[in-house]
Each structure stands twice: as C-alpha cells, then as structure tokens.
Amino acid sequence: MTVQGNVLGFPILSLITYLPLLGAILLLAVGRERIGAIRNLAFLFSLASFGVSLLLPFRYDPSTPAVQFVERHTWIPSLGVSYFFGLDGISLWLTLLTTFLSPVAVLCSYESIKHRAKEYYIFLLILETGMLGVFLALDFFLFYVFWEVMLVPMYFLIGVWGSDRRLYSAIKFFLYTLFGSVVMLLGILAVYFYAGARTGQYTFDVLELMKVAYPHTPLITVLGLSLSFQDLVWLAFALSFAIKVPMFPFHTWLPDAHTDAPTAGSVILAGVLLKMGTYGFLRFNLPLFPEASRHFVPLVFVLAIIAIIYGAMVCMVQPDMKRLIAYSSVSHMGFVMLGMFAFNLQGVQGSLLQMVNHGLSTGGLFLVVGLIYDRRHTRLISELGGLSRQMPIYAALFAIIMLASMGLPGLNGFIGEFLILIGAFQVRWWWGALAVTGIILGAAYMLWLYQRTMFGEITKEENRTLPDLDAREMATLLPIIALCFWIGLYPAPFLRAMETSVANVIQMVERGAAGKPIGPEQAALRRSPGVPGTPALRQPGNTDPLIAGLPDRQVASVAGEAGR
C-alpha cells in the first residue's frame, strides 16, 4: 500500500478527529445547570466534525488504493512511533458513518438526558474522538491508544446513564474488550520485533509492517493443530477484534451493554463500535497475515454461520426490544465476517458496505426503541401493541428502518447482503445457502416484532395517550432513512470509492508472502554482509547504510544486484 500526500492544504483528518475533543474541553467551562447551552454546544461540535468530513468523499481519489490525506509526524522516535493519520477506501465510509451518527446521538439525547448532562456530553464527544482515531490511525501505537481511550467514555456512558443492571454491563463491556486488546498488544509487539529484526528498521508504521512477510511455517502444535508465527499473531489480533465484532462465542457482553446503555450509547455501540472489530480484521489481519487469514477461513466461516443463525434464533425469544436488536447485531455482523472472508471483490465490498448499512439501520432501530422508552420507560414488547394507531409517523419510520435492516430490495441492507451472498456462494455454495436461512429468520423476527408492537389493538391504557414524534425526533431518524434509500437505490458511488482499496486487500491476501517485497529470502539480500540489523531500540537511527534513504523500488533493484 502506498501513500499519497494531502491534497488539501490543512490536516483535515486531525481536524475531524479533534473537533469533538475541543468541544468537550470547551464544555468544561460551561456551568452544569445550563443544559441548553451544553447540548447545543455538543451538537455544534459534532456537527462541525461531520461538516468537515463531508469534504472527504469529494476530494478522495478512488482510482488508487493509496492512503490519502496523510498526516505524519514523528512522535516517539526511539520506539519508531509516529503520529500517522491516513484515509483509504476502507476507512472512508466508516469515518463518515462515525461523524454522521455522532450528531444524531447527541440530538437523540436532548430530552432523555437531563441528569448530569454536562458530563454526559463530554464523554460522548471524547468517545467520538476516540472512534475516529481508531479508523484513521495507521500507526499501531497510535491505533492502540485510540482503541483503548475509547473504552473509557463508553464505560461511563453505560455505567452512569444506563438502566437496570448498568454497573454490571459497563464493567463487563470494559473487561471483555480490554482483555481482547491486551492480547492484541502482544501481537502488535511480536510483529514489531519480528519485522524490525528482519528489516533493521523498528517501526509501528502499519504500511511498513505490511511489506514484511511473516513466517508461516509450523512453529508449535496445540491440540493437534500446528500453528505458525503468522497463525499465532493472527489469533492474538483476532481475539481482540472478535470480541468487538462480536463473533459467536465472545458475544455475551453485547446484549448486556446494548440493553443497559442509554439510547445514544446503544446507537454508537451498534453503529460504530462493532465496526471497529470488522474494520480491524480487514485493515490488519488480512493484509498483514495473508496465509494465516486463508488458513482460518473455515474457522471464521463456521463461527460466522453460527452467529447468523444462532443470533437470529435468539432474537425470536427476546421479550425486550433492545435485547432483540442487540442479538440481531450478532446475526448481522456474522454476515459481515462471512463476506469479508470470501476474499473476492463482491464479498469484501458487500462486507464493507454492510458495516455502514448495519450502522445506519441498527443505529436507527435503537433510536426507534429509545423514542418509545422515553415515552413509556419500558422496552418490553408485551407492554406495547397497536401503536401505529396512536403514532402513525413513528410507525412509518420504524417500518422503513426495520425493512432496511431485514434487507428489503430498494433499501441499503439488501445491497450489502446480496453482495455478501454472491461472494460466499462463489466460495462454497452451501455456506451461502446456510447464510440465507439467517435472512429468512431475520425477516421473521423483525416482522414479528413490528407486528406485536405496532399492529393490533392497543392493549395497555397508557399507550392511548402517547404523542407522536416531534420535529427533533424526526430529525434524528430522517437522515438515516434518506441514506438507507440512497445506498439501496444507487449504491454505485459508495462501492466505487471503496473498490480499489478492497481489490488491493484481496490481492494482498491472495498473493500472500510471495507478493511481499520483504520475504525471508529478499531480506537476506537486503542486508549487506557485516551489517547486522541491530534493534533500533538499542541503537537509535539505525538503518542499513546500503539502503538508507532509498525508496523501496530502488532498494529492490539494489538488492537484486547484490544477489547477482
């Protein structure tokens, strides 16, 4: 993967990332009684971040997989850590999804969060900065910093403003994800030292680390499975990301966290946080460890199929709306994993698009549930029923978002799922076939949910007086619905922008180690005799004198000559 300079004259990615943080800092100065000013300020800053981010798709060059709008500064030179922000076709839409959902999350909290509002919006804005940093960082150290920073505000959002078992859910969320990320830290360090020893250049630069071929010859045998260095590191990364996605056996934190989080927390959790897991797989696992990725395809597929079907079946029996939608996320994210590990253009593009789709439609569903919760303070399906008579606008918007989530043609979910299924069918038809059952089950639980809550007679007296949506509430849902239609009817611009980047990742997975400039043999050539690659940590500024300062292509030719 290459790097393209910043075509804009200013550091746009940092601006997008830190605008919310700036808002949070300014909020510190506002008196805590002035709730109106606080929420308007929070909305303003998240909206400003979104406004600036709208420049990205217009100035993004989709003809190249190169990383764009790059910002790069040395940060901790002795460790090879740099402040490296960049955007490509993989992170473009996820970044926009984040900046889009954040003002929505602020807006939907206007009425429901009155208690300790100042802290609430501060945490929400810090959370946005953390999420954006995760998608934009291309230095492992920087990435890890954002990856963990983001956990803290989410912990407080669930723990302070959540419902029922909020304390339990908050710490469960924090512990699960932290456990995964510390194991990933081990993987990052292993990659760092391996690549450093191989190239003589110790760096956390993800793009540099991608150039190195990691050994995939069996190293140890665990339970009869022989695992290579690549496999082990792949697993270390995968554990962290799988917890975040969440993939099947690691999903148990999700229903708790989603259910007990405040509406905005659930929207952000489902909309953005889960994408970080799948983004991590696509950004790091696939290009860094192609052999291991191919090796683990059966594992991922089995877990994905289990998630799709099991998640959907659990949805059927949930009495709580939020819990139902939480489990539907497990099912939908199974699709995303399935498409990604098909390793073909349709599958991976569908997977990436489905990340955005799921963010929109599931985010929207949590908003819908939140609207009812604000009115009735219950999420139990049995407490509702017949609401379409009382709240027709609400029922209509709910219907559209529900259909988008189900994958009805003409709406966004259809495009994503369709591409994923095409991708999966190309690999093994029965995997695609199994996944289709998930769609059918998805239609079943969604329609049933809608039927039980919206149709029929009003069974509870309290529901007779519910007011329909006001302008602010509609303003949270309508942009989401508009995007659902746009992606559903005309997905071309979205797919086009991601195509070259996705194709590039697929190529990296398929070519594997053979396609990498620094494989074991090439590295031997690169290092001139008598100049051992000593770790930069021990000796600063250490580079091979022969190749220092030469771009990579020249390095290859120098190495070639040395070999002759």
Binding site: W75, S78, E119, V149, L186, L189, L537
Partner: protein, 487 residues
C-alpha cells in the same frame, strides 16, 4: 587504595550531602522554633530537595558515568541519577501532600520532615551503592527512618500495629539480606559488586554458597519490594501508617529496593543470570497475580493500593528477568511513572481525610464526581494510569516493559502480565464506579482545601499525563541511563 577518599569524592556525594544538611537544619529549626505553627518547615525541606535535584541534574549532564568514589563504595552513573530524580521528585510531592495533613491530624511536623529527608537520603545512597557495605548503609538509613515514620501517629492503634509489623519484618529481612551478603563476602573475598562478579565468574562453577547467597539476597530484597510471598506486612503497614508516609513508601522506598535489586543482580551476579532469572520469573508471576487477585477483595482504599503496589512490583520484576538494556530502561521509566501515579492516588486519600473521616474507605469516594468534578477527574487519571489505559504514563510504562519482554522472547511472562493488567481494571474501575456512578450521600463529602495539596496533585497528574502523551524525551533518557547497568 592509598587514600580513603579525595575532595573530588565529596562533590560526587553533593546531592546526598544537600539532603543530609537539610534534614539536620529542619531538625534544629524544629527544636529552636518557638511558635507552634511550623508549616514553614516544609518550605525548608522543599528548598533542600530542589537543590538536590539541581545537583543530580548537574551530575547527569556531566556524562553517563560510571564514576566511582570512596574506594569504590559509591558510584555516580546515569542509572543512579535517574532513580535519584524519581526519589527526590517523590519526596517533594509527598511534602506538599503532607503540609496541611500533619496539622489536621496533629502530627509532629519537625519529626516528619526530618525523618522523611533522612529516608530520602537512604534511597539516594541505595541508588548509588556500588558495594554491599554502602548498599547496607543506605538500606538501613532508609529503613530505620521509615519504621519511625510509619509509627508517627503514636496514639493510633492501627498505626502502631502496622509499624510494629513493618519493623519486625524489616529487621528479619535485613538479617536475611545480611546473611546473603556475608556468604557473598566469604566466596568473593570482597564486597564491591565488581569483586563479587569476578569471583562468581571464576571458572563458572556451581558454588553452593554462592547459590545460597543468591537465594538469600533475592528473599531479602523480596521483603523490601514486597514481592509475594514476602508481602504480608505491607497491607497492614499501609492501612495503619499516615497516608503521606505510605505515599513515600510506595513512590520511593520500594522503588529504591527495586533499583538496588536490579543493580546487584545484574552487576554482581551476572554469571548466575540463568538461575536468578528463573527465580524472578516465578516471583514476578506470583507477585503480580496474587497482588491483583487480592486487591479485588479490598474495601479499604489504602489496602487496595497496597496490593496494587505489590502487583506493580510484580510487573517491575519483569525488568530484571529480561535483564537487557531495554528491560532496565523500562524499569527506569516505569519507576518514574509509577511513583507519580501512586503518590497521586494516595494524595486523593489525603484530600478526603477530613476530621473524623479517614478517607481511606473506597465508599468514602461515593459521588465524588458530583461533589468535585476536578478531584474525581484527577483520581480517574491516576486510576487509568495505574490500570495502564492510554494516554497516561502507566500505559507507556507498561507498553515499554512488555516490549522489552517480548523482545527477549518471554512470551508467557508477558501473556500473564497482560492478563493481570486486564484483571486490575476491575478493582481500579470500582473506585471510578463509586465516584461516578453512585449518588452523593446526603451528608456530603468534605474535601481538604490546602493549596499545597492541590499543587502536589496537579504536579503528579501533570507528570502522569505528560509522560503518557509525550514520552519521547524521558524514554530516551531512560534508555541512555540503563547503559550503566546493562549493555
């Protein structure tokens, strides 16, 4: 060895001399002063410590060393200087913390400041020890002062209990340590680290006395740094002792134990690295795991922080296990980071100790976020740093330490350490949970209003945050300073 020492040796001892003079001056002024108001003694102590910092910085600027003084008893190198800066910084923050607290609790300020300065002197001597004898002198200067400091609240039963336990265990461990040193002397015929190293290296034989000495030294230092299974006294001592004293113990005294441990084993016993490496591997795993697991069950914050100290000492032991320059550099950086964050956390206990509340129950923090968002925010920063969440010093320190271990291929050790790190989140965040997620109790929380106390907390917080965001220069310094001991 014609002359016992030269005038040049005295300049090498300048920081220690500065601290000694300050301690004596404080003691004298305390006797002569007529007024009962003696808070200004803190100012004298701070001045002396600041001068000592300047002197250490000058020594550091003069080159990495090592320069030997007093016939090889005392060494000045950047490794020692780095640790001295940590100890002096800790002592400064602790004095700021204590100024008002001593008044409130009716403790004798003169005794406190002079003892604290003498303890600091001990830690400085330990950092510079190049000989078993000077090591012992430094250790005892520190230890005897700390025994007295821990028992400073004469009429408090828990204080007495903790101090007595600490005294008994301390004396016992000193005996063990001394026995190990005697054996080493018997084998080597000298007490200088280099003499010992040369004797231990001769022929690479397996002298049972040498192995015995190694085990005894490990146990003796194990007591001083409260490694499991030698940690039993620590929670009682922490619970009973005056909080500023505990902050000093965690932020300087125990780190001094770690500083000499690394130096002694790497410089005096490099031939036995395989053996003591394994020993410390086991100690590290036990210490961090038991420290973290027991911390979960604590309701008293000072006890919890005691177990957290134990756990952190376990992480720090990874440094000597690795033994590489990177490992030693990581120990240096970690020590600085740990000193600031742990003193900050104890400072919060001081802040909450008003009147009859001791401020040391975790429940005393209930609803603090609403009562004082600033105080809660500071505590949150220290807690996150102790857990190792970025962007704090604790994160970079752990990252660096684990990197050193991965580099040396201690994968299992790092795996255990990172899992421990995740476990520690639970009890640190319990305090955050109490502060943020519980409502304020009706009677409210009284907070200390001492400006010096807030200055101390801000100082600790600033270092914690700065080292987390811009660790570059200090990492450089730590790496350069590690060269004297490993490399």
């Amino acid at each position: 060895m014609t002359q016992p020492f030269t005038p040049a040796d005295l300049t090498l001892l300048a920081p220690e001399i500065a601290v000694t003079i300050t301690a004596l001056v404080v003691l004298l002024l305390d006797l002569l002063a007529r007024s009962r108001e003696r808070a200004w003694l803190a100012g004298v102590g701070l001045l002396g410590l600041a001068a000592a910092i300047a002197l250490v910085a000058r020594q550091m600027a003069q080159g990495p060393g090592p320069v030997l003084a007093f016939s090889g008893l005392h060494v000045v190198d950047s490794y020692a200087s780095f640790f001295k800066l940590v100890f002096l910084l800790s002592a400064i923050i602790v004095i700021l913390l204590a100024a008002r607290h001593l008044q409130d609790q009716g403790m004798d300020p003169g005794g406190f400041y002079s003892l604290l300065l003498f303890a600091t002197l001990g830690t400085l001597l330990m950092a510079s020890a190049a000989d078993l004898l000077s090591l012992f002198v430094g250790l005892e200067t520190m230890a005897v002062s700390s025994y007295a400091l821990c028992g400073l609240m004469k009429r408090d039963q828990r204080c007495n209990e903790g101090a007595l336990k600490y005294l008994l265990m301390g004396v016992f461990s000193t005996g063990v340590l001394l026995y190990g040193m005697v054996l080493l002397y018997g084998v080597a015929g000298g007490t200088g680290f280099q003499v010992v190293a040369r004797a231990a290296g001769l022929g690479g034989f397996r002298n049972p006395a040498l192995v015995m000495a190694m085990v005894l030294l490990a146990a003796g230092f194990g007591f001083k740094i409260a490694a499991v299974p030698f940690h039993m006294y620590l929670p009682d001592m922490y619970e009973g002792a005056p909080t500023p004293v505990v902050a000093f113990m965690a932020g300087a005294a125990e780190l001094a134990g770690m500083a000499v441990l690394v130096r002694v084993f790497l410089l005096a016993l490099p031939e036995l690295q395989v053996d003591w490496g394994l020993l410390f591997w086991v100690l590290a795993v036990l210490t961090m795991t038991i420290g973290n697991l027991v911390a979960i069950a604590q309701a008293n914050l000072k006890r919890m922080l005691a177990y957290s100290t134990i756990a952190h000492m376990g992480y720090l032991l990874i440094g000597p296990v690795v033994g590489s320059p990177l490992g030693v550099a990581a120990v240096l950086f970690y020590s600085l980071a740990y000193a600031c964050m742990t003193i900050g956390a104890f400072g919060m206990v001081v802040l909450l100790a008003r009147g009859r509340t001791r401020g040391d129950q975790i429940d005393d923090f209930t609803g603090l976020a609403q009562r004082s968002p600033l105080a809660a925010g500071l505590m949150l920063l220290f807690l996150l740093s102790l857990t190792g969440i970025p962007p704090t010093a604790g994160f970079v320190a752990k990252f660096y330490l684990f990197a050193a271990a991965v580099d040396a291929k201690y994968y299992w050790l790092v795996l255990i350490a990172v899992v421990n790190s995740a476990i520690s989140l639970y009890y640190y965040m319990r305090v955050a949970m109490v502060m943020y997620m519980r409502e304020v109790p009706p009677q409210g929380i009284a907070l200390g209003r001492s400006p010096a106390l807030y200055l101390a907390l801000f100082l600790a917080a600033a270092v914690t945050l700065l080292l987390g965001v811009f660790p570059g220069p200090v990492l450089e310094l730590a790496r350069a300073s590690a060269a004297g001991v490993a490399g």
